[in-house]
């Protein structure tokens, strides 16, 4: 008699596309064979997982079509099955997987970047809540300490650097806007983006190289004085943009000599 672990190990292999193996011998066969009964579970599990990916990657789905998306998603599921019952965190490796598919890479060089963009949107939508910094908490800080501020990004914030204009491609494809699709300049690369969930929902905004460098250092918790000094006259406006769009959720005051004050 197989142990429970042996049954579950074999069932897992079957659901991931392996053969039924010993499992078929352990299943009651009557009007329906063991293989037919196992197929019900295999089809259902595969169908749900593919639909989870389709909801996360709607623009990829439109770009490659339902059938090829399903085929790609099934192969992805076999190689990268879900790791937890919280399915919103499933599918982060899909972009790299698509990049390794010769059929997709040859026809649509920008496909992996569109997937990276959609994954960032999904992460932003589902990230944990955190209270965005408000004006009173900042105005209460002694101006002499402003240079020692180190900010924490909101959990939804992601910075992307993509080879192709994936944001414009995804927007145009999902809108079915042929004129916008035709106007996309694939040579306009790289594209730098900040993605986050602000007061009005999930938002993606393009950044210049200087803005991107500023944001990367800001979100890494570097000392504000040094970031602003490198940024030049536009730094204050860039900081204000992150603030009003809810991309900052905390700060600490820490001078270079490591004297930390946590508000």
């Amino acid at each position: 008699m197989p142990t429970l672990h042996e049954v579950q190990h074999a069932f897992s292999a079957t659901l991931r596309g392996g053969g039924d193996g010993d499992l078929a011998d352990w299943v009651v066969a009557d009007d329906f064979s063991a293989a037919e009964r196992l197929l019900i579970y295999r089809n259902s599990s595969r169908s749900v997982t593919v639909e989870v990916l389709r909801m996360t990657y709607p623009a990829v789905d439109r770009l490659i079509g339902r059938d090829f998306f399903e085929l790609s998603a099934e192969r992805f599921c076999a190689a990268h099955p879900p790791g937890s019952g919280y399915m919103n965190e499933y599918g982060g490796e899909f972009a790299d997987f698509l990049a390794g598919l010769p059929e997709a890479a040859a026809a649509l060089c920008y496909l992996p970047d569109v997937a990276r963009f959609e994954w960032a949107l999904s992460c932003a939508a589902n990230a944990g809540d955190a209270t965005a910094l408000d004006l009173p908490s900042l105005t209460a800080i002694d101006p002499e300490q402003h240079e020692d501020l180190r900010f924490e990004p909101h959990p939804s914030v992601r910075l992307l650097e993509l080879d192709y204009p994936a944001d414009a491609i995804a927007d145009a494809v999902l809108a079915g806007d042929d004129d916008a699709i035709a106007a996309i300049d694939l040579a306009s690369r790289p594209v730098r983006l900040v993605v986050g969930r602000g007061p009005d929902g999930v938002d993606a905004r393009r950044l210049t190289p200087s803005e991107n460098d500023f944001a990367r250092r800001l979100f890494a918790g570097e000392r504000l004085g040094e970031i602003l000094q490198s940024a030049g006259p536009d730094g204050a406006a860039w900081l204000a943009d992150h603030f009003v769009n809810g991309r900052l959720s905390g700060f600490r005051i820490e001078c270079a000599a490591n004297g930390a004050v946590v508000p």
Binding site: S12, R16, V28, G85, Y86, M87, G201
Partner: protein
């Protein structure tokens, strides 16, 4: 309606409720439909952002139950501590009247399947499920309910009928039973047992909630047929008949209408809930445990 310590609507009443799905969030907030309670899958609210904000607002107006689908109580490996922690965070936040999960498994060796998979019904599996249910109850600090799943296969080495298995889990862990009458009917048809005998085996004081949903009869050209629990249609007449028998045995009971595929306008779910309420009203309030 009674309220909790924090002013939220209180326990789940012995009336019909509906499973809340994303397409109905706006309708529930805008129209505040007349339904006694709501149930959600916690896995849909374990992140932050819009879904959780919706749930917080809806919770102010309705008693709420959390019905998990991702904990995998039958896993030989034990429970996923991260998933359990997420469940507790949500439960602490929304103070649900009931928390439930399934008599099934979905994870092994770090791989999770979005499916309620069948267990071999053996003494070993019973010990595993009881251990995992006790872990869940201790971690959440509350009694939970365990639901009988629909199934499409049985294992040759099963030694315990499902009705005795789930009754033993309730007896050994102190958990309650969520009797899904549709699942019971689907499994009974697929495996050829009498669903009425199943109902008669369950001790009335252990059953704390009933689920109702639609299912699909899939016929093959060679005359064979199998019932698939797809939650995509109205409750079947045979399931309503079995529900009457369940209410007659268990008494008035929180009863949920579930609908997960091809979700219709909320009015359809409310209509099904009203039908369940009419049946509840015609049956005795308390079970005859004899």
């Amino acid at each position: 309606m009674s309220v909790s310590l924090h002013g939220l609507p209180g326990p789940i009443p012995a009336s019909a409720g509906i499973g809340l799905r994303f397409p109905h969030h706006d309708a529930v907030l805008a129209e505040k439909p007349c339904v006694a309670w709501l149930e959600v899958n916690p896995e849909n609210y374990m992140g932050g952002g819009k879904p959780l904000a919706y749930l917080d607002r809806i919770r102010r107006d309705y008693p709420l139950s959390l019905h998990g689908v991702g904990l995998s109580l039958g896993s030989a490996d034990g429970l996923d501590a991260t998933h359990l922690t997420r469940l507790r965070c949500l439960a602490d936040r929304v103070e649900p009247g009931l928390v439930s999960e399934h008599l099934s498994w979905s994870a092994i060796e770090g791989v999770h399947f979005p499916e309620l998979l069948p267990l071999p019904l053996t003494e070993e599996a019973l010990a595993v499920v009881c251990r995992n249910v006790e872990t869940m109850q201790n971690f959440l600090g509350r009694r939970v309910l365990i639901e009988n799943p629909s199934s499409y296969l049985r294992f040759c080495h099963s030694t315990i009928p499902e009705w005795e298995f789930i009754a033993a889990v309730a007896r050994d862990t102190g958990c309650g039973i969520l009797c899904d009458v549709n699942n019971l009917y689907v499994s009974a048809c697929n495996h050829g047992f009498d669903p009425r005998c199943y109902l008669q085996t369950l001790a009335p004081d252990t059953v704390q909630e009933i689920h109702l949903a639609g299912h699909k009869l899939r016929r093959f050209d060679d005359g064979r047929a199998i019932r698939i629990d797809d939650h995509g249609s109205r409750v079947a007449a045979e399931v309503w008949a079995l529900y009457r028998e369940a209410v007659n045995r268990f008494g008035w009971m929180p009863t949920l209408i579930e609908w997960d595929t091809e979700v219709p306008p909320i009015a359809v779910l409310l209509d099904e809930a009203a039908k369940a309420d009419r049946i509840l009203a015609t049956e005795p309030a308390h079970a005859d445990a004899a």
